[in-house]
Amino acid sequence: MVKYIGKRLIYMFLTMFLIATATFFLMQTLPGSPIASYNKLNESQRAIVEKKYGIDKPKPVQYAIYMKNLAKGDLGTSFVFKGKSVNDLLVNRFKPSFILGAQAMVFGTVVGILLGMLAALRQNTFWDYGSTFFAILGISIPSFVFASLLQYWIASEWHLLPVGLWNDGWKSSILPSIALAMGPLALSARFIRTEMIEVLNSDYITLAKAKGANGYEIAFKHALRNALIPLVTVLGPVAAGLITGSLVVEQIFAIPGIGEQFVSSIMTNDHATIMGTTLFFSAFLIVVIFIVDILYGIIDPRIRLSGGKS
C-alpha cells in the first residue's frame, strides 16, 4: 500500500510538472499578447510594464522564475486586475464555486442513488423506464442548455428564484446547483442501477432471501452497500464534469466563482490567471482521482487486506 501510494504521488508530481511546463510554453505561443490591452501606452511605458510583470527577460529565465515561484505556491500576478496576485483571485472566488460544487455533488449523488435503486428494484416497470429515461436526459442534455432553460423558466418567467448573481444567500445557489447536479445525478443513477441489478442476481442475495430476509432488508442491508462501493470510482469523472459544468453554469448565472473567472481570463488574455486556474483545476482533479483510488481500497473489505488496487 505504501509503495503504491508513493508511486502514485510521483506520477502526480510528474503530471503536474508537465502540465505547468506545457501551460507556460503554450501561453508564450498565444496569438494575443497580454500587453495588447495596454495599446495606448508608448514605448517607454510598455518597457516599464513589461519589466513590472517580468516579461522583458528571455523565455528560459521567465520559465525558471515561474517554476521557482510555483514551487513556493505563488501563481504570479494577474495582468488584468492590476497588482492582484492570482492566488488572491482564486481564494476570493473559491467559496461560491465550492458551495455550488458541493451542493450539486451531494444532491446529485443522493437523488441519483435513490433513482438507480428504484430502477433496479422495480426492473422493467414504469419506475425503471422512467428513471432510466431521466438519467439519459441528464447525461445527454448539455449543462449549458439545461442551465439556460432553468434560468428562463424558473427565474425569468416565473420569478421563483433569482436570475443570477451571488447576493441572495442560499437562494442564489439553488438554480446553479441543480443545473450542475444533473451530471452526477444521471451518472450515479445509471451506475447504481447496473450495479444493483448485478448484485441482486448474485448468490449471496439468494442466500439472504433463503434466510427469510424481506425486500427492504435485501435492498438496503445486503445489496446497497455492495452496489455503492464501486460508485466511488465514478467520482473522478463526476468531479471533472462538475468543473466543465461550472465554467458555463457560473457564466450563465453570473456567479463570481473560479469557473467564471477562468472564462473571463481567457477572454481578456490574462495569461497569469489562465495558467494559475489551469494548474488549480488540474491539481484538483488529480488529487480527487488519487483520493478515489485510495478510498476504494479502504471501503472495500476485499481489497483492504490484500493491499492496494493493482
Binding site: K211, G212, P301
Partner: protein
C-alpha cells in the same frame, strides 16, 4: 414414516424471450422426517429448479407454477403469500448453495450473516444471537470462532465458507435442509469433510435433507433414498440400494454405467450419447427415448406412468409394462443386479423373488 413435505404433480415454467421453458413437468415426491433424499440428474434436468421452487426463490416475474402443490406443515407453498414464505425461509426450510465463494455477502462480517436468521426468526437479544452464532460456527468446525466472527468472507477458504453457509442454514434448526450441490465446487478432500459434517449434523439436529447432486459417489455416501430426474420429470425413485443395485430405467442404467468404478474392470468409461432435451419444445413421450438404445415405439408417443417395482421403488419406463419385451441391461448393471436380493439377476441363495412388475 411421517411425511414432512409432499410435492404433488408439480409443473413449473419459465417465460423467456425464446418462449415458455417447461422446466418441471409433473414432479411428485415425499420427504420423510429425518431422511436424506438425494435428487440426481444432469444439468438442466430440473433438480435445482425443483428445490428452488420449494423455497420459492425463483424470480417471480419470469417463473410460473402451472400445476400441482407443495404441501408443508399443512400449507401449500405454491400459493402462500411472499410474507408467509419469508417466515418459513431460513426457519423451517433452509438452503445451502453450490458455490461458497459467491454465496456469502462480501461486505458483511460472517458473524453478522450467521446472526441474521436468528434475529429474524427468534425473539432473542443481539448478545444471545451472537452467542448462538459463535456456537454454530464452532459446531461446523470454524476454529477460533470468537475471533473469526468479525472477519469477512474473503478471509476464509472455500471449505470454511461452505461451513459458514451450513451454519447459517442451521441457525434456526430447520425441519428441512436443502443442499444444492453443496460439494461440487470444492476440492475432493474438502468434499469428504463437508459430507461428514452434514451427516454429523443430521444426527445431532434430526433434520430432513434434500440433497441435490450429479455425483453418484456422493449419493451412495449420504442418501437414504434417491430420485433420478430427467427432462423435468422424476424417472425413477427408490432406496439407495434399489437405485444402485436394481435400477429399472435406461437413464439410471446410463448414469450408473458412466460412473467410474474400481471394482469393475471396464475397458472404457461409458458415456450417455446425445444431449439433454430442449425444454422449450420437450419431446413427446419418454424424454430419454431419443438417447436410449432401449427405446420402444410407444416411448415416442406417450409418456410412461410410474410403474411400481417394490413398496419403495418406482420407475417411469415402458420397459416395466407387461407387454414390453425383456431387454438385457448393460453388462455392468447386470453385475450390480446380481448382488441385489429381489432383482431378476440375483445370484444369491435366497431364491429369485422376481424383479419385474
Amino acid at each position: 414414516m411421517e411425511k414432512i413435505l409432499q410435492v404433488i404433480d408439480l409443473e413449473l415454467s419459465f417465460h423467456t424471450f425464446a418462449g415458455e421453458v417447461k422446466a418441471i413437468r409433473g414432479v411428485s415426491f415425499d420427504l420423510h422426517k429425518g431422511e436424506t433424499l438425494a435428487i440426481v440428474g444432469e444439468s438442466g434436468s430440473g433438480k435445482s429448479v425443483t428445490t428452488k421452487s420449494i423455497m420459492r426463490l425463483l424470480p417471480e416475474t419470469s417463473s410460473e407454477f402451472k400445476n400441482g402443490e407443495i404441501l408443508f406443515d399443512g400449507k401449500d407453498l405454491t400459493s402462500l403469500p411472499e410474507s408467509g414464505m419469508q417466515k418459513i425461509r431460513g426457519k423451517d426450510i433452509s438452503m445451502i448453495f453450490q458455490d461458497p465463494m459467491t454465496s456469502l455477502n462480501p461486505t458483511m462480517p460472517i458473524g453478522k450473516q450467521v446472526m441474521e436468521p436468528i434475529l429474524k426468526h427468534q425473539k432473542v437479544s443481539k448478545a444471545k444471537a451472537k452467542e448462538v452464532a459463535i456456537e454454530l460456527l464452532k459446531m461446523v468446525g470454524i476454529p477460533n470462532a470468537e475471533v473469526r466472527y468479525k472477519m469477512y468472507p474473503h478471509q476464509f477458504s472455500g471449505g470454511q465458507r461452505q461451513r459458514i453457509v451450513i451454519a447459517i442454514a442451521l441457525a434456526c434448526n430447520p425441519k428441512i435442509l436443502i443442499a444444492d450441490e453443496p460439494t461440487t465446487a470444492l476440492d475432493v478432500t474438502i468434499q469428504a469433510q463437508i459430507l461428514e459434517l452434514m451427516k454429523d449434523i443430521q444426527k445431532k439436529v434430526d433434520t430432513s435433507i434434500i440433497f441435490i447432486t450429479h455425483d453418484l459417489g456422493v449419493v451412495a455416501n449420504v442418501a437414504d433414498r434417491v430420485a433420478v430426474m430427467y427432462g423435468g420429470r422424476i424417472v425413477e425413485v427408490g432406496t439407495v440400494d434399489e437405485i444402485f443395485y436394481n435400477p429399472q430405467h435406461p437413464y439410471t442404467w446410463g448414469l450408473l454405467s458412466s460412473m467410474p468404478s474400481l471394482d469393475l474392470e471396464e475397458e472404457r468409461l461409458y458415456a450417455i450419447p446425445g444431449t439433454p432435451p430442449d425444454l422449450l419444445n420437450p419431446p413427446v413421450g419418454d424424454a430419454f427415448a431419443l438417447r436410449s438404445e432401449y427405446a420402444l415405439k410407444i416411448d415416442l408417443e406417450q409418456a410412461p406412468p410410474m410403474f411400481q417395482v417394490s413398496d419403495t421403488h418406482y420407475a417411469a419406463t415402458w420397459l416395466l409394462h407387461p407387454n414390453a419385451p425383456k431387454v438385457e441391461p448393460p453388462a455392468t448393471i447386470i453385475e450390480r443386479m446380481k448382488t441385489f436380493r429381489g432383482s431378476r439377476y440375483y445370484e444369491g441363495t435366497d431364491g429369485n423373488l422376481g424383479g419385474e412388475a
